[in-house]
Symmetry: C4
Amino acid sequence: MSENPDEGRLAGWEARTEWPLTGLAVAFLVAYAWQVLGTADSPAVRWWLEVWLWVVWGVFAVDYLIRLGLARRKWRFVWRHLFDLVVVALPMVRQLRALRLVTVFKVINRRVGASLRGQVGIYVGGTTLMVAFGAALAVLDAERSDPNATITPFGDALWWTLTTISTVGYGDRYPVTTEGRLVAGALMVGGIALLGVVTGVIASWFVEKIAGAEASIEASTKAEVQALREEIAQLRADLRPRAQDSEPR
Amino acid sequence: MSENPDEGRLAGWEARTEWPLTGLAVAFLVAYAWQVLGTADSPAVRWWLEVWLWVVWGVFAVDYLIRLGLARRKWRFVWRHLFDLVVVALPMVRQLRALRLVTVFKVINRRVGASLRGQVGIYVGGTTLMVAFGAALAVLDAERSDPNATITPFGDALWWTLTTISTVGYGDRYPVTTEGRLVAGALMVGGIALLGVVTGVIASWFVEKIAGAEASIEASTKAEVQALREEIAQLRADLRPRAQDSEPR
Amino acid sequence: MSENPDEGRLAGWEARTEWPLTGLAVAFLVAYAWQVLGTADSPAVRWWLEVWLWVVWGVFAVDYLIRLGLARRKWRFVWRHLFDLVVVALPMVRQLRALRLVTVFKVINRRVGASLRGQVGIYVGGTTLMVAFGAALAVLDAERSDPNATITPFGDALWWTLTTISTVGYGDRYPVTTEGRLVAGALMVGGIALLGVVTGVIASWFVEKIAGAEASIEASTKAEVQALREEIAQLRADLRPRAQDSEPR
Amino acid sequence: MSENPDEGRLAGWEARTEWPLTGLAVAFLVAYAWQVLGTADSPAVRWWLEVWLWVVWGVFAVDYLIRLGLARRKWRFVWRHLFDLVVVALPMVRQLRALRLVTVFKVINRRVGASLRGQVGIYVGGTTLMVAFGAALAVLDAERSDPNATITPFGDALWWTLTTISTVGYGDRYPVTTEGRLVAGALMVGGIALLGVVTGVIASWFVEKIAGAEASIEASTKAEVQALREEIAQLRADLRPRAQDSEPR
């Protein structure tokens, strides 16, 4: 949404790392899902998953530092990428690691600017599914150790995610821990944004119909001006020979 | 929303089958409603209803295959009609059959493109009512066999549908089975789309007022250009006689 | 939203009856509120209130019939005023009488078309308040006779109305009777429309900023064309004297 | 949104007092938070906080009176600043004092008109956070003395604020006192406005893409007209010498 045209090196780096980072984010999600859902794994498997999650976090942290190094206006970069800073600086809050996924969202965002509305639909749909899946994992991870928890099996966590992101909120299940509520907050923001994007796409579609009609008036004005120009050219051609005629006289 | 202009044969088939398929979808809904609500029917009646529902499913499946056959770019067709594929490929999930109704939505969608906003209102209203009715049937069918179900008589199912599609979600009733939750998910998506369409229509109405003012500036520019053209034509007419005058000389 | 320009007589009648009917609707609301809230009134007072409510209903019914008589295309009128028909034809459903208030909404709608966005805000705000007040009365009237009712004192009915129209829906209070649920349905539709209008106004405000910039390009094109026209007029004036000069020759 | 261009003195005063009043509002919020959360403070501290809150209220009241004095059209000023009047006239309702914060919203609103959409995002985000924080304080203050209250510690009040402003409304916590419900109502209105602004910004972003394409047609029309003008100038230059030539003859 807010790209910096004079940050050439930064933009180049971001373009090159776009796909690798998206891939890493997906791998992170898979490993995180394994860790959360595979409660019967051997300690060795759990240890390797933990190591892998820390390695991915490290790669994201290094990427942030490199981008900060490449940016010309450092403070502006920090200000515009506050969210990235939060994601990188808070790895200790274990339940928030899934939110690092939202990086995918940002990566995708960058591409959408120049593309069509149909593609927006595909990206938004895909991102919503990924965010919902990640949020269901995160809330399950946060809640299941609490005795009063209502979001216990993974199926219920998915259902809770659905009722939250659509802002329906039946209240049959709701988070009771602070970490679960932070995940819920992120999901609600996502739900509001989702509503906004869906509405925006539909509204712009209607507006386009109107703008189309308007554009045709404009196109006819343009054709009118072109016809006029030809007429003038003709007039000049009419006058030119006479001007030459009259000269020898 | 995304029609393929070079798919002539496909478009022709879709135009011809539009109304028969809409009729079939309505007949499917009626038979499904009968099956769900008429619990006291004789086994023979139930058997015929079951046969009829399978026949309609078969017609939809054949229609999908014919359209696939007519499409020039097969993969693109499959990609753009993923939803149809899901509907045709999952007839085994009995509770999802009602969702086949959403085909009606798609059929209607195709028409709306060229029509007025007033008609959009009528179609959206009608489709919302049909989807809500179908969803109430489907959720009742899915839930009533569960001992913890709260959405038991049909009236309560309708009420639950209303609270869900409007994203109010009191939580006095909510689905507990997986099938019921899938129906709820489809309904929530429908609710978000409904909000989007209503907002889009209203926003475009306000924008049109503004665009109207703008269009009048453009129209006056056009009038200005036309006046200019006449002036030039006049100028040419003024010069022409002199040009002829001077020739004989 | 959809007015019929060729229905001169109908439009004239509607313009003349606009304010008296709005006044009557307000009087109806006051009498209805009295009837619902004044449970300790004497039988005579209650009888007069009942008579007055029936008289207002009669006036609305007569107004509908007159408008039907004045309309040239009867079926189109019936089709476009389905809501009015429902309101007039269902006076037996006592709890729905408050919905007749929505007539006020319609009366107001007619005016808004030509007016500014600021005024839309005032009308929408005012109508929302009136609809909410009427709905709170209607739901209280419908629910309080039910033993399981949770929306009992008027304060709680107002609170329930607020949670419903904003689509928050906590679920601490919810209607259990069919009449109460019909009122809730009308309120949810109102809530969706409210969201749509608020969003539409804000979106059109942002779009207007953009359109403003565009309009300035257009205005400068127009100025350009006007300058051009003057130039041509000048050219013609330059040529005219020579044309006259050369004629006597 | 609705500024009065002919109210020069009023606008000047508002421009000068913008930042001091914003600062005061923040100071008010801090003192209010201290009063609500610091239940173990000594009576002296509590007395000074109370005095300070009254002083800030007094400053806002004086500001309102000065603005009323500066306004040329008094009634129009009162009508357009009804909200300010309510805020100033109801200081006795102790729980509503936090709503005075919304003044910050209004102060910010004034600036946004001429600025970019990116900044709208920052202001809206910041204001939402402040309003949510203030509302959580106010609802906690209103509810905690009630025996049936469910919104008791400050963490739960923040959580309730989040579920309300996003219109999710689980219903695990809800206000039971009248003051708490008034706060909830203000928050719901804020939630609807928030949805509207988010959607509006996104919709206008999509519309801008379309408008951009249109603007390029217009720009090319303009270029066409300029080319035409040059052509005419050339034609005039072609004719001028001949006209001078023919004169001496």
